[in-house]
Amino acid sequence: MVYAACLALSGMGLVAALSHLIGAVAPAEIVSPLGLPWIGAHFRLDALSAFFLALVSLSSGAASLYAVGHGREEREPERVLPFYPVFLAGMNLVVLAGDAFTFLLSWEVMSLASCALVMARHREEENVYAGYVYLVMASFSALTLLLAFGFMAGADGSYAFDSIRARMATASSTGVVLVLALIGAGSKAGLAPLHVWLPLAHPAAPSHVSALMSGAMTKVAVYAFVRIVFDLIGPPAWWWGAIVLAAGGMTATLGVLHALMQHDLKRLLAYSTVENIGIIFIALGLALAFRAYGLGSAAALALTAGLLHAFNHSAFKSLLFLGAGAVLSKTGARDMERLGGLIHRMPQTAFLFLVGCAAISALPPLNGFVSEWLTLQAILLSPQLPSWGLKLLAPAVGALLALSAALAAACFIKAYGVTFLGRPRTAAAEVAHETDRFSLVAMSLLAATCFIAGIVPSLFIDALAPVARSLVGDRMPAQFGLAWLTIVPIAESRSSYNGMLVFLFVAASGILAASVIHRFASHAVRRAPAWDCGFPDLNPATQYTAASFSQPIRRVYGSYVFRARERVDMPLPGELRPARIEVELHDLAWDWLYAPIARAVGAIADWLNPLQFRTIRQYLSLVFFALVVLLTGLALWS
């Protein structure tokens, strides 16, 4: 079985990466004769790539394990199996690549393989469409990165990362590279307004692949950004941080707002990926800003926060996608309006999914909270920045961050409540049953990761120390030694957080309360029909639906964020037809950015097309005029 092999391999990758990360050894480099002839393919494993290698290996291992069980239900396995290992290999190679050519090669292999996986179910129209948009956008990002590397490598083509570093140390106007890298890596990671392909492509793929695309591939894009901006090009200018901050804040808010409006479970998850990418970029932008002014420790804090959030997100987003996949395969429905009450049918999945939801909503004591807490702490340091623009930008972005965190909580209340709670809305949801045990093991693995990263974050922060040191020249104070496993970003007098203690505290008091009540007060339970203020209705259609849940929020933000329009069609008294409300939403990025470009291309094509239908004489006159023009030019020139 292919997946088993992938599992074993990614396990090995994880071990290797961790050993490298913990035992902070010197970067290892291999040069193979493949690739560009006079350069060869460089493969390099330093702290940064080790961290991301661990990240990728973790989620790919989980996905493979999941697929061992889940893959049996694949209808056309021959369209998934060949590309899956290639996809994994591509991601790992991107992280390991040591020169521009190898990097872009593996980058594109990654994109292509995932695109093939997106189109695995090629008989549905929208999958093929998603694959197309995805392919074009992926090539766009690759070409943009190619330009960036072209600038960095120079005309003589010194593509190896070391020589690039040497060149860029003295180069000027490196801002170009930043912009290109932001566009290139950002469009792959799903940075607004280049995110449009993401919610199309990620849901279309088989679930374990969606998990990888959201959990790992977007992180590989983040890796590309970090590698280029922090490592390869020289010291940043102040406005770099500003751009990245703004982009991140916008992405986070837009992403989560769109996520709230979705009723397709996997698409909702995809949009929430966009949001988390935004959060990561906020942290990275802060790190850039701090670094531009030489505030080493602050930069280290921000960078660590960003990378930690990348790790956390890959953990819980993979978990959530796997859960969604389990739901999909057992009920055949991705649309939440056709689900409900699954907590009774698939309890383990429900529990694990709940852990994921809590983690992604940044609830203590899980891991999502830790990284967002660190990011907020980093924002709190921003008054040290001398630049006024950043001074004003940072708190605003902080507000956006808080806003999107709260919206994310609402979003996942909706996702979980509508999918797993309440009463089943269709027969399919009625008869669903628990998923296979491989999938359960895989998901519980990820859930455990979320939990551990939540209560002992100090381990992970210390593991990130060499990365921070190598990139911004400073690191956060060592955390692991502290009493009670507390984490202290700067100083205890400033702020500290202890996930483990909070968890123990809550658990203890909860259990205490429960036991006291059960001991001294009643513990009798009686089952009865739902009370519902006196007029319960047995029809599950009376439940709150996903659309109705998000309606208030749509009222609040919708009108200007996605030009939401509601049309209510209320039958007159005596009419028997049901009343219905229709909502139309727009993704402005699509309406204002993509559609015009597509129209322009079409228009130009139409405008040029008649050239196919000219007569020979007219073609001849083209030739003739070309000749005359050139000769005249020559006559004038010489």
């Binding site: 007569t615 004489r617 030739v623 005359v628 005249t632 006559a635 010489s638």
Partner: protein, 220 residues
């Protein structure tokens, strides 16, 4: 070489350009063919003259080919085609004659400017020849694009070729001229045969968009 030979060469080359202009002016096919025959004659004369003054006997072959093939065979063949297709009453200039002539004069000026300037170091005879040759070529091309009639386009192409032969002959001691002229004659012959075989009615480009829709792949 003395002035006389130069003058003769000059006269003949200029004659070529002149005939090209006359062709450009003609609007009757038969007349056009006659003028073309005349041009071929002039060409062969000038090539022969070049052969004599350069003392290059192989050029005589080229002259002979030009004379026999272009001055007689081709025009006759074209006469028959025209007769077959019954298009001899054709008046078919796409653009008016006046603009065409003006443009032609402009072309000649252009070729003079280009050539006479660039070949500054060369001997005057070669300069004259190459400049006239270029203008003949350009005029022939102009003819091809201003006439919409197959036969006259063929004629235009052949006058382009005449210009080339002139240039080749004028380039002193240039090898392979014979081979080249032979190859070209084959080309021309094929064109004429094509016109004859495929019954290209009146013009190469009887194209309505419908035809191209078929070409676009709706065939079969």
């Amino acid at each position: 070489m003395d002035g006389f030979t130069l003058d003769v060469a000059h006269l003949l080359a200029g004659g070529l350009v002149l005939t090209s202009f006359v062709m450009l002016y003609q609007d009757r096919l038969y007349a056009l063919l006659n003028v073309f025959a005349l041009q071929a004659l002039v060409l062969s004369l000038s090539v022969a003259w070049q052969a004599w003054i350069q003392g290059a006997p192989h050029l005589f072959i080229t002259a002979a080919i030009a004379l026999i093939f272009k001055a007689f065979i081709i025009p006759v063949a074209l006469h028959r085609i025209i007769a077959n297709l019954g298009i001899h009453r054709e008046v078919e200039a796409v653009t008016g004659l006046g603009p065409t002539m003006l443009f032609g004069i402009g072309l000649v000026a252009l070729s003079m400017v280009v050539m006479l300037r660039v070949t500054a170091g060369d001997d005057p005879l070669a300069r004259e020849d190459i400049a006239f040759a270029l203008s003949v070529v350009l005029l022939g091309l102009l003819m091809m694009i201003t006439r919409s009639n197959a036969v006259s386009q063929v004629v235009g192409f052949m006058s382009i070729e005449n210009g080339l032969i002139l240039a080749a002959a004028g380039a002193k001691g240039m090898p392979l001229v014979v081979e080249i002229s032979v190859a070209f004659s084959v080309l021309v012959a094929l064109i004429v045969i094509g016109v004859f075989l495929f019954r290209i009615r009146e013009r190469f480009d009887t194209v309505d968009v419908g035809v191209f829709d078929r070409i676009q792949g709706e065939r079969r």
